[in-house]
């Protein structure tokens, strides 16, 4: 399993701040998105605005993910 944390508008759309996905057959971040969008269809329209982090650092689609990793779904940041 991997833990997926959602923040801001993404948590709002998904209706949850945390979920777990079975990713035994997944090796990259890009492969996680279809699983997440299937579970939380309201997230799908946000796809192009989202960034992702793996274990606390910004990551791209071809970056690897492994069981036990923490993935964060990050809408456009708006601090300050």
């Amino acid at each position: 399993m991997i833990k997926v944390l959602l923040f801001g508008a993404a948590a709002d759309r998904a209706g949850t701040r945390e979920t777990e996905l079975p990713v035994e057959d997944v090796s990259t971040l890009a492969e996680v998105w279809p699983l997440l969008a299937e579970r939380h269809p309201d997230l799908a329209p946000m796809r192009d605005t989202l960034a992702f982090a793996v274990n606390g650092e910004y990551a791209r689609g071809n970056d690897g993910v492994s069981p036990g990793d923490e993935i964060a779904v990050l809408p456009p940041v708006s601090g300050g």
Binding site: D12, M46, G56, A72, V77, S78
Partner: protein, 147 residues
């Protein structure tokens, strides 16, 4: 000093902590909650959340970027989370340097980088609903997708 806190920010204390005999300038930026108005409604307060500890680490990285680019002697960035009422500070940046140029430039750089890379989000709570800033997701009629 880099921190993310839940309580109100003491701007004076942060400036005092930056005063040093080798510095001739302290530049301070304070971001505060502004009451915007539109279509008969108004912002009542802002609410911030963060992905920690990534956000803490990103603040420290901004500090390291600044020290690599400018001759500054002390950089403090403190961001508040939770509800921030109108006029109250959500972020305070204090840069002490020998001369004013680097202090001004570095403090500007810090706030712009915060808005680019630090995983912190704000929700505007209006009298008629809320909006996640940057995502335009929320409950106000003006939010795209709710029309």
């Amino acid at each position: 000093m880099f921190a993310i806190v839940e309580e109100s920010l003491d701007v004076g204390a942060l400036i005092q902590a930056a005063q040093r005999p080798d510095c001739g300038a302290i530049a301070t930026f304070v971001g505060t909650t502004r009451i915007d108005e539109s279509e008969g409604a108004a912002v009542e307060y802002l609410e911030y959340e963060a992905y920690r500890p990534m956000a803490d680490r990103k603040l420290e990285e901004i500090g390291a970027e600044i020290e690599g680019r400018w001759d500054v002697r002390r950089v403090s960035i403190v961001h508040r989370l939770g509800r921030v009422d109108p006029g109250e500070a959500s972020v305070v940046i204090v840069v002490a340097a020998a001369r004013r140029g680097p202090a001004f430039e570095a403090s500007r750089y810090a706030i712009e980088r915060i808005k680019e890379v630090v995983p912190i989000w704000k929700r505007e709570v209006w009298s008629d609903g809320y909006v996640w800033v940057g995502s335009q997701v929320g409950t106000r009629d003006q939010v795209s997708g709710n029309r």
